[in-house]
């Protein structure tokens, strides 16, 4: 696709860093609910960052990558552990409203300033309203995904019964965006079983200007629709990591190129018949579509509104990035307010910032290695989102009336963190370290759903935990100081069990606590370190069965 001037999409699984900057680099990088492999480098290598809200073929469902398919290279790409299942949560834990989506778009824009941020939506009635919201939230593009696609791993029931055709969603999105004068702000893309140049022309006339393909190019590479993608036994070496089966792969990039050229050729012929010279002049010209005389459905609503409006670069959303605090920051001390969103994400160079005040949302999001921020104060939701190697420390100001049980940082901290450290000298909100796959963190208490869907890294909790702790956690270790001895009741026992902290782990824990004490001056940590041997039996290690067997094997 890169050779053709098209864009390939990485999908939600991340991409090997070796590919960044080469011909193999995927132009579109996806950010899905699992945040697998979403590191700063990954985002920086993208021309387009796509936020996948749902999948056309199985809207509302999360994915599940069975442990057997997580080989060394897959684990590396996804920043996880070989052999351990990966579960994508059905929702994005940092998106519960359109404002949250706007926040994520803003965060990603701060990382990849040059990249276009697009949002993948699913064809449905009412998608026009959602699309308008997405356009206002600052997205550069909207993808309307139809329900006819789906890989061989999508459940048969979903393939047959879920999702709507892209035509319906696309027509509605185009019409609503036009009516609200938002259409020129965004590009509109569609996918979901586009197979021929004719399909592409229909999409074009209904209002799309970008088109996504998956099944058809796969077929050109030798896919025979076995529907075993999830089993790792693809006999044609496509959806498998088995080296024997991969030898059977017969595809070549040239096949995809040729297929796409045929698509373009067919499009060109149809356009010539319509007397059109450019694709732009046909976007949204649904008046050129005619209903069949014997049509059983009345489709006049799809084609009754024709506006030739398309993306216009000057109408792009302005994020005012040059006015950000971290861009204009020359000294290493700063006072923050809640309006300073995603503080630190645009810092350049190796720096240690001392901040005070109230950190806005997404404090220190995607912070890279070599950068450290110490915040004397509080922070809003999404602290350390996608942390990529940086160090965050949050502690209450020494002279404040702050009490131990007061919440210091908001919800969903360290969501999708891949590496780095976070030291929180106080209580965190709900869903602390959700989908953490490599960051090490210390916190002095968490709300409900702590360490949910975690796949790697270490989390030490020195205080109370909320309900449903470690739900869907398949990897990593959480050490919890269980002073009230009620952790067993608080955690979700679906994947994990409690163990005493082992001898080696105790050393790691001690080191982590020392770092915590240094970074935040935490009294609690100091107390524990003073009488570490006495405290140690009160710590419980929360480990998933799969991860335990991996550790034993390693």
């Amino acid at each position: 696709m890169n050779r053709l001037g098209g864009k390939s999409n990485s999908g939600e699984g991340g991409e090997l860093p070796e590919r960044f900057g080469t011909e193999f680099n995927s132009a579109i990088k996806q950010v899905a609910s699992g945040r697998f492999g979403v590191t700063r480098d990954y985002l920086l290598s993208a021309q387009e960052i796509q936020i996948k809200m749902a999948q056309g073929a199985k809207p509302g469902e999360g994915g599940h990558l069975p442990g057997a398919k997580v080989t060394e290279s897959v684990a590396k790409t996804r920043c996880s552990t070989p052999g351990i299942s990966l579960i994508s949560p059905p929702p994005h834990h940092d998106i519960y409203s359109i404002e949250d989506l706007a926040e994520l778009i803003y965060d990603l824009k701060c990382v990849g300033e040059q990249a276009k941020i697009t949002v993948k939506l699913v064809s449905s009635t009412g998608v026009g309203t959602i699309a308008s919201g997405v356009a206002k939230a600052g997205a550069g593009g909207i993808l309307i995904s139809g329900g006819e696609g789906g890989t061989g791993a999508a459940p048969m029931s979903s393939v047959h019964h879920a999702g709507l055709p892209w035509e319906i969603g696309l027509a509605e999105a185009h019409q609503v965006l036009c009516r609200n004068r938002l259409r020129q702000k965004v590009t509109l893309e569609t996918d979901g079983k586009l197979m021929t140049g004719h399909d592409v022309m229909v999409a074009l006339l209904l209002g799309a200007e970008e088109f996504g393909f998956a099944t058809a190019p796969l077929i050109t590479l030798g896919c025979r629709m076995m529907r075993v993608c999830h089993l790792g036994t693809c006999p044609f070496g496509i959806a498998t990591q088995n080296p024997e089966l991969r030898k059977r792969f017969i595809g070549k990039p040239e096949y995809v190129e040729r297929f796409m050229l045929f698509i373009a050729g067919q499009m060109r012929r149809i356009m010539a018949k319509l007397g059109a010279r450019t694709v732009d002049e046909l976007v949204g010209r649904s008046d050129l579509l005619k209903m069949k005389a014997d049509a059983k459905l009345d489709l006049s609503d799809l084609i009754g509104f024709a506006r030739n409006t398309h993306f216009f670069p000057d109408a792009k959303h302005d994020f005012h990035l040059s006015e950000r605090t971290d861009v204009r920051l020359f000294q290493d001390h700063v006072h923050l307010m809640t309006t300073d969103r995603a503080f630190g994400t645009m810092l350049r160079g190796e720096r240690h910032i001392q901040a005070q005040g109230c950190g806005g949302q997404s404090f220190g999001a995607f912070l890279p290695q070599g950068q450290q921020i110490t915040l004397y104060g509080v922070a809003n939701d999404y602290l350390g989102k996608g942390l990529s190697g940086g160090t965050l420390a949050v502690c209450p100001p020494v002279d404040s009336l702050w009490r131990q049980e007061d919440t210091l940082i908001g919800n969903v901290a360290l969501y999708g963190a891949t590496s780095g450290r976070a030291f929180i000298a106080g209580m965190a909100g709900e869903r602390f370290a959700v989908r953490n796959s490599g960051a090490w963190a210390v916190v002095e208490g968490v709300g409900d759903h702590g360490c949910e869907y975690m796949t790697g890294g270490r989390v030490a909790v020195l205080g109370p935990v909320g309900d449903n702790f470690a739900a869907g956690m398949s990897g990593g270790i959480a050490w919890v100081l269980d002073e009230k001895d009620d952790l067993q009741d608080r955690m979700n026992p679906g994947h994990v069990q409690l163990y005493p902290v082992s001898q080696e782990d105790a050393q790691e824990l001690k080191l982590l606590l020392q770092l915590h004490e240094q970074a935040t001056g935490s009294k609690k940590a100091r107390d524990i370190l003073k009488r570490f041997d006495a405290y140690l039996p009160k710590f419980k290690a929360v480990i998933s069965d799969e991860y335990l067997s991996y550790l034993k094997g390693a």
Partner: protein, 472 residues
């Protein structure tokens, strides 16, 4: 699905042939069967493909539900598997023996396909052995009477379907035994005649009547509500050389019929190859059957002439999966000839130029000539490439060119240029209450295609009869 990784763990294992020099001593079945454990490994190889090409148009003409019964067989649910098989396959004991298994070539495992044919044979034979196959007598009868002319595969398939639909079916055949080519065309070692008889007895028990030694005429149209002609494509293609009337020159089907009659009666064939130099013209299945039969009769030598060049060992670029692979196939007769004579009996790109006879007009030798493909695609003899082969028995297995003229005359029909009775709308309906199916309808082809065509014609007849008054 059988087993997700079955195709990686187990190799394809076919039912083996009996050893050449042993099986040549008799006309008994070629293949041996294998135990249930082997079947389980072989069915485990089926991958339950999202798009099962084996049951597509590239694969089984009957659209057998192959992945489903493979899976049931793998799980040991043999009876359910058999029932699933019988939903679409009328006579698995025939196709399990003689089908070239298009499904296995269209299998996603390509040249290493699942052994569907052997699995099918195992299922039906197990079912017969365990008494699961009983006469299925229709619960209700219509008042309609159907005559099926010809008791080959298409006729039997149609008769079976129509009988199950409740119509009274009479199968008429001019031969002394029913079965058509199943009985007298295919040699006993490939399809034992006891197997054919077993099926016929079952069909009789289900209420089908067989009228043998009877020629069909247009009077049938008066006596029956519908008549289905399944008379095959029996007119053999002859050689374009003089002296074809010489003694010792026979068409393959006549030779094979005589051989099977001799096997059934335990006597010596009237056209026996014993002690003769045999030359078979034609490299197809029939030619191979002639080779195998001649060897069993004790011929002195056997040679097979093939006009086409030797096929490649692997698929060519122009012949991709899932098409039928046009590759070199060495069948049982050729293997036997190699074992006896030390070389493959086939000579490629060669045909007969002249037949040499003695004073009593009996064949003594053949003059052959090499053929070469010209740029226009036609085969031309190469000058000076003549060769003389001793020959006492010349068997012509050069294919069939359509239905016999007398049958057409009887029913005042005319065939198309390729000898077929193919109505322009692609149906089986020839007009009035007359229908056709099988090779007669669409030209010479496989048993399994005849079965599919017979069933399709039966469905048409059923629709035709239902549209009339007084069905029940």
């Amino acid at each position: 699905m059988g087993k997700a990784t079955g195709f990686l763990e187990y190799a394809r294992v076919e039912n083996p042939y009996r050893e050449e020099l042993v099986r040549l001593r008799d006309f008994e079945e070629l293949h041996t069967s294998q135990p249930a454990e082997v079947r389980q490994c072989q069915t485990a190889r089926c991958m339950d493909c999202g798009v099962p090409f084996c049951q597509s148009d590239f694969g089984c003409p009957l659209h057998n539900l192959i992945p489903e019964w493979n899976d049931l067989l793998y799980r040991g649910q043999e009876r359910e598997a058999l029932n699933r098989l019988l939903m679409t396959a009328p006579f698995p004991e025939f196709t399990g023996r003689v089908c070239p298994a298009l499904c296995e070539k269209a299998c996603n495992l390509a040249d290493d396909g699942v052994t569907n044919r052997d699995n099918e044979l195992y299922l039906i034979e197990t079912g017969l052995e365990k008494g699961w196959i009983r006469p299925r007598i229709p619960l209700a009868r219509t008042r309609k009477r159907v005559a099926v002319v010809g008791s080959g595969p298409s006729g039997l398939a149609a008769a079976d379907w129509l009988n199950q639909a409740g119509h009274a079916v009479t199968v008429i055949d001019r031969a002394d035994r029913p079965g058509g080519l199943l009985m007298y065309g295919i040699p006993n070692m490939k399809l034992p005649k006891a197997i054919v008889d077993r099926r016929i007895r079952l069909m009789e028990a289900e209420g089908i009547s067989f009228l043998l030694n009877t020629s069909a005429g247009p009077d049938l149209l008066e006596a029956y509500d519908a008549v289905l002609l399944c008379c095959g494509s029996r007119r053999p293609r002859s050689l374009n050389v003089p002296h074809q009337d010489a003694g010792g020159v026979h068409f393959a089907v006549d030779y094979l019929t005589a051989a099977t009659r001799a096997v059934l009666s335990g006597s010596v064939s009237a056209l026996s190859a014993h002690g003769k130099h045999v030359v078979v013209v034609g490299g197809g299945d029939t030619g191979n059957d002639c080779v195998g039969t001649a060897l069993r009769q004790g011929c002195r030598s056997v040679t097979q002439l093939e006009m086409m060049p030797k096929a490649p060992d692997r698929r060519t670029a122009g012949n991709p999966w899932p098409e039928w692979p046009r590759v070199l196939r060495t069948d049982y007769g050729q293997l036997e000839a190699s074992a006896v004579q030390g070389r493959d009996p086939r000579i490629y790109e060669t045909t007969v130029q002249t037949i040499q006879t003695d004073s009593q007009n009996r064949i003594t030798a053949l003059q052959t000539v090499r053929l070469q493909r010209q740029t226009d695609g036609k085969l031309q003899p190469v000058q000076g490439s003549g060769q003389t082969l001793p020959c006492d028995l010349l068997l012509i297995a050069a294919g069939f060119i359509g239905c016999e003229a007398e049958t057409l005359e009887h029913f005042s029909l005319s065939a198309d240029s390729r000898g077929r009775l193919l109505p322009p709308d692609g149906s089986h309906h020839l007009g009035d209450s007359l229908f056709t199916a099988g090779d007669m309808h669409s030209g010479q082809s496989l048993v399994v295609r005849a079965l599919a065509d017979g069933r399709a014609a039966a469905r048409e007849i059923h629709g035709f009869l239902k549209a009339e008054k007084n069905v029940f």
